[in-house]
């Protein structure tokens, strides 16, 4: 069996709940996030943004701003003289700083650097932009209509058949069998249309960075991001710099959820730094975060499912139309892949359309596309169960995908954990607890792909035998803790003998961003292998000291041991003893591992929720919430639970409160936390996490990514719960009080 495959073992460190190593600095306010660092002689940057949803920029007069005291640089698109060849890079540049037109309310059109924040703000007010306002479109269904204002012509992919509006840039189709014949075998068919609003990742830390860039092309960037290597590569590509000359250091990161897997303003900070010759700090306001950093897509979906009276799904189709914002791209294909992925279906077909609108470029948000993929499907399954008087968990079990099932997106599943989550849900006391008046219980399943990707880890054995571990992925929710634990486990040393840091881009090779639930899986894998590499070296050093063959040395409990009686009688050499003589036995000892960790393996969850609907106001109260998810192996169960709880809470917000509201003028009307209301402590109950551990065969410890799947089921679980409580099927998110009340009244 290859060494990177799972082998059963008794863990000493993995699976325990130690205090995280970066804890004290984070509870004392010492941890340094994006906006928490300054440099001598530093300037403050600020960005001017379009008030129009769609407008040609006829001219920009910066002369008054440039003449102001304390203003050291003013830039517009004209300063970005490097034109990237790659269309993706060109789009990022255009999104960072508008070219010939502003494509959405909040699109950057100019920027300044000044000696104080107040001067920078005053300078923005002195910049005069001559706009020619153009017709705009912000709704996905409107944007698909023939004759809709076109955000940018000429961007349609070959996948889109003739006859579609140019705003439709991409199309994908998945499935197998013949849904039409499947529907003929059904006893009941339900066909419905759904809408979900755009929601923002809502990280509490606005984007922030501190940039220097000198005339020799050397630069440094301190930035809050999910991937500083990505930031380096993109900034270099956009500005025409050599990546090796730009060193990017990741600050602590105050949440990301996918929103910090993109570049929104870092090239602007670098350009201001180059033009002014000074370090420039650029911190976005919350208003800017909402208006100009990508929310996830809004969606419009048609679903049709046929079922026998015994609960077997005979045919299923779904069409997903996702609003991608002002640039090509999008995630409808992921909705189309994920929607039916939990089920074993003979006849299924899904279709996804990527649609441009005059909104900020849609960004990844925790399992991108999957929540709006699952919500309509799980809603219709629930409605079928209600109408056929079937148990929703039993019905899902009856149709559940398992090992050998051909998935709705194509591949045949290896061993998967969906049934285990459904069985756990069925036997949990939550399922049989009584419900009161106006209360309902909803369940839903969710699926997500997990990723691996490019990963580098270095593990240094210091002269005193302690261990320094360098990894390249920002610690967004406890990953230093889990890497430290895996290194300690593999080396057989106490946890406090290992310290993990997040290295800058000059210190390790390329690392994929912290996304796709990849870090515990992929960086963990690389950490374990880097430890094994160091162990091999230490075994050689012990063998050399003993004068025996390295093959005759074992490693256990943090020490080299002679492998057996034939190897010779030597007392064990501990890591400290081996480290102490490293200079005498060949030099410093370090292990490392570089890998593109492919084949991560998929993830499933089942959620169960009770809600109460107030018939007077339409307000929805979440009463009880339980998450059942397969974690493979929970390295630090507290932080696995935290991922389950946090994803559920974000899903609750998406289901009940959160939405981007655009006026007829195409402007965002609720660009702040007062009017874009994310769940607060008094909105939520305790969220019970049930961790299932079905080892991932592709990881030495059986670890499976857990970060994203938890946001997939909540939209439907809550919609099903509310629909049962209210006695009417809700088909539009968020289920805000006015919407729920209108549905109640329409009964």
């Amino acid at each position: 069996m290859p060494k990177d495959e799972y082998t059963s073992r008794d863990f000493k460190v993995v699976g325990t709940r130690p205090i995280r190593p970066d804890g004290i600095e984070k509870v004392t306010g010492k941890a340094r996030y994006g906006a928490d660092i300054s440099a001598p002689g530093m300037l403050w940057g600020a960005i001017l943004r379009s008030p129009h949803a769609h407008a040609r920029i006829k001219g920009i007069d910066t002369s008054k701003a440039r003449a102001m005291k304390g203003v050291k640089a003013v830039i517009t698109r004209a300063d970005f003289t490097h034109q990237p060849e790659d269309s993706g890079m060109a789009d990022i540049l255009d999104n960072c700083m508008a070219g010939d037109k502003a494509r959405y309310d909040g699109h950057a059109v100019a920027a300044v650097a000044a000696t104080s924040k107040s001067i920078a703000r005053a300078a923005l007010a002195a910049i005069e932009v001559d706009y020619e306002v153009l017709p705009h479109v912000t709704d996905v269904d409107e944007a698909m209509k023939t004759g809709a204002p076109v955000v940018e012509p000429g961007r349609q992919q070959e996948s889109v058949p003739e006859g579609y509006c140019e705003n439709v840039t991409g199309r994908s189709q998945y499935g197998h069998g013949d849904p039409e014949s499947g529907f003929e075998q059904a006893d009941l068919i339900v066909e419905r249309s759904f809408k979900t609003a755009a929601t923002h990742q809502g990280y509490i830390e606005p984007h922030a960075c501190l940039a220097t860039l000198d005339s020799d092309g050397q630069g440094d960037l301190w930035v809050c991001t999910q991937g500083h290597y990505m930031v380096r590569n993109v900034c270099a590509g956009v500005l025409g710099l050599d990546a090796g000359q730009l060193r990017v250091t990741a600050s602590e990161i105050g949440g990301g959820f996918g929103g910090k897997t993109h570049v929104w303003m870092e090239p602007t900070a670098l350009m201001l730094a180059r033009k002014s010759g000074k370090p420039v700090k650029l911190v976005l306001s919350r208003d800017e975060v909402f208006r100009a950093t990508g929310p996830t897509a809004s969606s419009s979906v048609d679903v049709k499912i046929g079922m026998t009276s015994e609960g077997k799904i005979t045919g299923a189709t779904a069409t997903y139309r996702l609003q991608a914002g002002a640039y090509p791209g999008g995630i409808a294909f992921l909705s189309a892949m994920c929607g039916f992925a939990p089920y074993d279906l003979e006849n299924v077909r899904t279709e996804g359309f990527e649609v441009m609108t005059n909104r900020p470029k849609a960004a990844a948000y925790r399992a991108p596309g999957a929540p709006m993929g699952a919500y309509p499907v799980e809603s219709v399954i629930d409605e079928l169960c209600q109408k056929l008087d079937l148990d929703p968990l039993e019905t899902r079990l009856k149709n559940a995908a398992r090992e050998g099932t051909r998935s709705s997106y194509g591949p045949t599943y290896p061993a998967i954990g969906l049934e285990a989550t459904l069985e756990a849900a069925k036997s949990h006391p939550h399922w049989s607890a009584p419900l009161g008046e106006n209360q309902g219980r909803g369940v839903a399943c969710g699926f997500w792909f997990n990723f691996g990707g490019d990963t580098c880890v270095s593990l240094m054995v210091n002269p005193d035998g302690t261990v320094s571990l360098s990894e390249g992925n920002p610690d967004i929710g406890g990953s230093r803790a889990s890497m430290t634990m895996m290194a300690a486990e593999e080396l057989g040393v106490p946890l406090d003998q290992v310290r993990t840091i997040i290295a800058d881009t000059a210190s390790l090779g390329q690392n994929e961003v912290t996304d796709g639930s990849r870090v515990t899986f992929a960086v963990g894998l690389a950490t374990i292998k880097a430890a094994r590499h160091a162990i091999e070296i230490m075994k050689e050093r012990a063998a050399m000291t003993w004068g025996i063959d390295p093959e005759a040395v074992d490693w256990r409990d943090g020490a080299a041991h002679p492998a057996g009686p034939n190897a010779g009688k030597f007392p064990p050499m501990t890591i400290k003893e081996i480290a102490a003589i490293a200079s005498n036995t060949g030099g410093p000892i370090a292990g490392h591992h570089e890998v593109n960790a492919e084949g991560a393996g998929v993830s499933f969850a089942t959620h169960m929720v009770d809600t109460e609907v107030d018939p007077e106001t339409g307000a929805v109260k979440v009463l009880r919430y339980t998450v059942f998810q397969d974690a493979g192996k929970a390295v630090h169960p507290d932080y696995v639970e935290g991922q389950f709880q946090g994803g559920a809470a974000q899903g609750i917000g998406w289901a009940i409160n959160e939405e981007y509201i655009y006026g007829d003028d195409g402007r965002l009307q609720n660009a702040g936390f007062l009017d874009y209301r994310i769940p607060v402590a008094s909105d939520l109950p305790m969220i019970e996490p049930v961790i299932l551990e079905i080892p991932n065969p592709g990881h030495p410890y059986g670890v499976r990514g857990v970060g994203e799947t938890s946001i997939v089921p909540p939209l439907a679980a809550i919609a099903n719960s509310v629909s049962r409580a209210a006695g009417v099927r809700l088909t539009s998110l968020p289920m805000s009080p006015p919407r729920v009340l209108a549905a109640l009244k329409a009964q």
Binding site: I19, G23, V27, T28, Y33, K117, G646, A649, I678, I687
Partner: protein, 159 residues
Amino acid sequence: MSRIHVTTTINGDETEYLCEAGETLLDVLRDHLDMTGSKEGCGTGDCGACSVVVDGRLVCSCLMLAAEAEGRAVDTIEGMAQGNQLHPLQQKFLEHAALQCGICTPGILVAAKNLLERNPNPSEEEVRYWLAGNLCRCTGYDKIIRAVMDTAADLRGAA
């Protein structure tokens, strides 16, 4: 631009600073005094990441002008631990894993400490409503609420 001279007390230390008339207390703490433990999540008093206590009252420092701190006593996250000794709330937040990214943590700790000084025996509902002005996007609040309740119980036991 003329500046305003302010004398105030921060975490027990007398402190003087010059501020612009439009600068907030948060601006001065972060940009002039290098006390970056208080965070700016919104600048509009909606997220609570900048929570400090002024003369015993919990406030969003982004909503208070720096000039208004004249003659007052301001307590920030930097004053919460006594030297190397963490406040019990800080310790419980670590033990309960009540933080993921940690950006909201200073504000929540300041707010929770203020709650326990007013109400040593809060119900879960009282904790949830008191902290309703402190947004956390990572945790779903579950472990935060548990950490605060557990701290309250310990402090009552010790009293």
